[in-house]
């Protein structure tokens, strides 16, 4: 049994330990890591006191952060801070439009295609599945005239879908952001699709280059400069990045 004197001493020692904890918390830079650890872990009582202080601080933060959050602004910050995510989404949309004849504007909204171009796209899809690619190219050249900077039905015909599933059984939403293969596609169409995904324009100083056809693997995670670098390895191509546009010389 402790005497009352021992109890007083014990309480005095306990208060001294707690005081030491509070003093350390007021000026932790005056202590080494070991000293800090020793003070907090001196005994169960001190550890529990520190734990309670952690909870007290969290309680205050919990109350301070009750104000409503601007989720719109947060979403915009998220998209702006992670352009690769945005690019991947753009890539998916463009890949979908290339495969299924759906076109998207830069803002990401689907664009209205005329009935004739939709029919053409569907028809061309069937032709593609049948392997009559060349015939489709000719047809689409005659039909598709509008929508600059957007993937046209011509691209649909020249590009192999990344999957072997038929177009009408696969929703555009289910396409993954795996590399997209441009197979024997004119540079004009291919570059427009890539530039649109990266939010830049295309200018052809060398008109003859428009019709050059390529087999090219487009990886969504590649930066635009990396893509340009890869394209420039083709002998016949000279592409420069200038002020938010790709210039083909």
């Amino acid at each position: 049994m402790r005497t009352s004197e021992e109890n007083i001493l014990c309480e005095a020692r306990r208060l001294r330990r707690l005081r030491l904890l509070l003093e350390m918390l007021d000026n932790p830079d005056a202590y080494t890591e070991q000293e800090i650890q020793d003070i907090i872990d001196r005994d169960e009582d001190t550890r529990e006191t520190y734990r309670l202080m952690v909870e007290a601080k969290r309680s205050v933060r919990h109350r301070q952060h009750q104000k409503p959050v601007d989720v719109d602004a947060a979403w915009q910050r998220f998209v702006a801070a992670h352009p690769t995510v945005q690019r991947k989404f753009q890539f998916r949309k463009i890949a979908a439009s290339l495969t299924f004849g759906r076109a998207y504007s830069r803002s990401g909204e689907p664009m209205r295609a005329s009935l004739s171009s939709r029919i053409a796209a569907s028809f061309i899809g069937v032709l593609l599945a049948s392997g009559i690619a060349f015939a489709a190219i000719q047809i689409v050249r005659n039909i598709s005239t509008s929508q600059p900077q957007l993937p046209t039905a011509e691209q649909t015909t020249g590009i192999e879908p990344p999957t072997s599933l038929s177009a009408d059984t696969v929703k555009a939403d289910t396409i993954s952001a795996e590399p997209y293969i441009f197979n024997n596609v004119p540079l004009d169409s291919m570059l427009t699709a890539i530039a649109t995904a990266h939010g830049v324009g295309v200018e052809f100083e060398n008109e003859a280059a428009r019709g050059l056809r390529f087999h090219f693997v487009w990886k969504p995670e590649d930066s635009l400069s990396r893509i340009v670098e890869k394209l420039n390895t083709f002998e016949a191509v000279n592409i420069d990045m200038e002020d938010k546009k790709l210039v083909v010389r």
């Binding site: 734990r51 007290a56 952060h65």
Partner: protein
């Protein structure tokens, strides 16, 4: 990769709760946003959306604890962060947030003056004991004593609840 409209819907539905939890745990708005954005970034790359909202809160909680673990000890104690694993962290998140509400309700309802003011100056405004003593015109020893009494009172109350 998750479809954009699904990701955006999840973001809009859950961001407020997630950023709140991260801010409570980390005490730093920028870091909290970083944690939440990281989670959505990883989600964007996955094909399957999370099963429920609790999954996202648990992800925030775990990510915050990881960040705290990586902090220097000095920074931990400056921000009053846990220095070791806490068994309370295993409790459901909503229960823990309820407990935080209860602690402040207890402080406001049960602590007498000047204890209540000293508590708020220490934990709301992060003042040192010396600064609190000057602000309230007290002897620093008295301010220490009152703060310790408050902490002990809260601790004993919640040990029994």
């Amino acid at each position: 990769m998750l479809e954009q409209r699904i990701l955006e819907r999840l973001f809009r539905q859950n961001y407020s709760k997630m950023i709140h939890l991260a801010s409570v745990l980390l005490g730093n708005d920028e870091e909290a946003e970083d944690v939440v954005q990281d989670i959505f970034l990883r989600m964007a790359d996955s094909d399957i959306p999370p099963r429920n909202d609790n999954y996202l809160l648990t992800a925030v909680h775990n990510a915050c604890l990881n960040r705290i673990r990586q902090m220097r000890l000095h920074d931990k104690v400056k921000g009053l962060m846990p220095t070791q694993e806490d068994e309370n962290d295993l409790q459901p998140i909503d229960k823990r947030l309820e407990r935080l509400d209860d602690i402040l309700a207890y402080v406001d309802e049960q602590l007498k003056e000047p204890h209540c003011s000293i508590f708020h100056l220490r934990f709301d405004e992060d003042l040192t004991i010396g600064e609190i003593a000057r602000r309230l015109g007290l002897n620093p020893n008295t301010a220490y004593k009152y703060l310790m009494q408050s902490i002990q009172q809260i601790r004993h109350h919640f040990e029994h609840h």
